[in-house]
Amino acid sequence: MNNLLDHFQLAHLPQSLDPFRIEVKQFLKQAMPPLTADQKARSWFGFDPEFSQRLAKQGWVGLTLPKTYGGAEMDAFARFVLVEEMLSAGSPVAAHWIADRQSGPLILKYGTEKQKSFYLPLICQAKAFFCIGMSEPNSGSDLSSVATRAVKTDQGWCLNGQKIWTTNGHQCHYAIALVRTSGTTANRHAGLSQFIINLSLPGVTRKPIVDLTGDEHFSEIFFENVLLSEDTLIGVEGQGWDQVIAELAFERSGPERVYSSIILLDEWIRWLKKGHATPQRVAMVGRFTAHLSTLRNMSIAVTHQLVQGKSPVIEAALVKDIATEFEQNIPALLEDEMGADPNEIIDANLLRALAYVSQMAPTYSLRGGTREILRGMIARGLGLR
């Protein structure tokens, strides 16, 4: 009954990766653009193609992809190390992020040889940035109700519809979109397929959406009679749902689901060290440390399953749900702390980082599957559904 919980066995990052971690730290020291705390706090939303290309020159974009396609052919543990260091440093990783994390592995798993040898080298060189076309105005958590449709033509497919909340859709080269290719929404999971869509094609219109922080991190994408060639279909026609679920295991399992508020937390600790510590704040630091250490071990346990070639879909959902709660707890508790003494002057840099993280924190438990969806998945894993 409880197999799910038996999968949370302690695992360790291999010690052979210690030199790699040092190498990453050294690289970041010289390659990081000068950023303020609130800019760093943008975490994996910071879009900087130049940084992505410097990282690619190190061979660290497409880290887990085979060398044949220009990848580093390292495993998920290595990706854990790289991601942990980049997020702790506040690196602007958004440009190559989706391609490295999920589009690349998806193409590797489901793509034809032609697709693999075209897209994967571009990804590894940080010349092709990807976004994810899943949500639509009327399809959020109920993803299988997507209405964007591709109709078969003589030369390929004709695409019509709309995607929304696409992270950096207006700045990426390609989207991998889930669309309906047969049947109706009544057919639910059947009849869905995934396409790699070149976003510069005629008929594609992109509009950034301004968020509450003033950033334009996500967008709307409209498709009006977009003609797609045969070879833009990725995987098997009609199998899009299963492919998306496998893709989401990659999307949800990484340390980025633990570290979204780390820049704020580290910045606050730095400030406490300058004579602002109180017993209550010290205990709060201790609590965050106990949580982070434990969540990190849970995330490594899931990574271990990826390394073993498994697809830990539900395990990843479980870690994401509890970890995003921790990530959201940080700004929630720090707001109270930083407002607790009106006589205390808070460092402006720290205050801006807090505001950014606090405003963006609601997305932590929306992106990549809402809290309610994840808890439903866990319940299924427990045999309740």
């Binding site: 302690l10 440390t289 250490s293 434990t294 990190r296 439903g376």
Partner: protein, 333 residues
């Protein structure tokens, strides 16, 4: 989390540590016969060297044994007794009997007081930390013993004359009795958390209302999902502490394990009772055996606030600028 020791111990517990045995010992029995069964099977000497008749097992292998003892709510300080005998390895004159830990004590008018010692009512000896020294005091020498007056609780307050003869003393040991007590206690918490979750999941499947199992309702499912997250977190926090070939878990690992499990204890107990409804708070139903432990063990040997304070002090005293670096440095095996 199976090993040969677990496989050997479980049948003993199935036969001799049933919920009614637990109730009986908690009510007024000293638990001698249960202790004798466990001792006769060699489990008290698990950590002792083979030359001393022990099994010389690793800290890592000991963990599932301790977890199992707590899953059966064994109301005896078996874990502490195993650990005490290991602390005194190389010494033959270890007192024979159940040993409980009291890392904190106070002295008032020439009286040494150990307040609210967990498992105090069923132990024969108590280990105290006196600065750098560990001392074993005999419960029979106490001038005063007070039960807590809490139903089913084994908490006992002891008083000895300050110059009471100690049965054994170990001078200038680096042993950190508080951290040792806390990490053993964290295992008890993690195991009880798992047990309470299993019982609640089962109840969610069995209990029918509105014509279907209550576990089919989304509100119940989500509560069970959140419980499952805390089961996984608590379990991995204690696994990390015991991931050693030999020796005592580090103070940092112990602190994290105790803090993390203590924090989850409250949520797990509250949610389990909410899902069980009124039956859960009856004496007859077994849930209370475990949820009482969750509340008690959360407070014993430092609640989460105590350990969070200590962890936070270490973070603020360190030179690292990234919390992730601090965690790697202090918890890397």
């Amino acid at each position: 989390m199976m090993n040969m020791f677990v496989e050997a111990l479980e049948p003993i517990l199935i036969d001799h540590c049933t919920p009614s045995d637990v109730r009986r010992i908690e009510a007024n029995d000293a638990g001698h016969s249960l202790f004798q069964k466990i001792k006769d099977a060699g489990f008290v000497e698990l950590l002792a060297a083979e030359s001393d008749g022990g099994a010389n097992i690793s800290t890592r292998e000991l963990f599932p044994v301790l977890f199992l003892l707590a899953q059966y709510a064994v109301p005896l300080p078996i874990a502490q007794t195993i650990a005490a005998r290991w602390l005194w390895k190389n010494h033959v004159d270890i007192p024979n009997g159940l040993i409980a830990f009291a890392p904190h004590h106070s002295v008032k008018s020439n009286v040494l007081i150990c307040a609210n010692v967990p498992m105090g009512r069923v132990c024969q000896f108590i280990v105290i930390q006196d600065q750098q020294h560990l001392k074993v005091l005999n419960c029979a020498d106490a001038i005063k013993l007070n039960d807590s007056g809490i139903k089913g609780s084994l908490l006992t307050t002891f008083e000895w004359k300050i110059n009471a003869a100690h049965s054994f003393e170990m001078k200038n040991t680096p042993t950190d009795l508080m951290a040792m007590s806390a990490v053993l206690n964290a295992v008890e918490l993690a195991a009880s958390i798992k047990k309470v979750f299993d019982m609640t999941l089962q109840y969610g499947n069995d209990r029918v209302q509105f014509g279907k199992s209550i576990g089919k309702f989304q509100a119940i499912q989500h509560q069970l999902s959140v419980m499952a997250e805390h089961v996984a977190a608590a379990s991995i926090a204690v696994q990390a502490a015991f991931d050693l070939t030999s020796g005592q878990p580090t103070r940092m690992h112990s602190a994290i394990a105790k803090s993390r499990t203590s924090e989850s204890a409250q949520l797990i107990a509250a949610t389990a009772h909410a899902i069980h409804g009124a039956i859960g708070i009856t004496y007859e139903y077994d849930l209370q055996i475990y949820t009482r432990r969750l509340h008690h063990a959360r407070m014993a040997y430092g609640s989460e606030s105590y350990w969070n304070q200590w962890i936070g002090e270490q973070v603020l005293a360190s030179k690292t600028t990234q919390l992730s670096d601090f965690i790697q440095m202090t918890t890397h095996p």
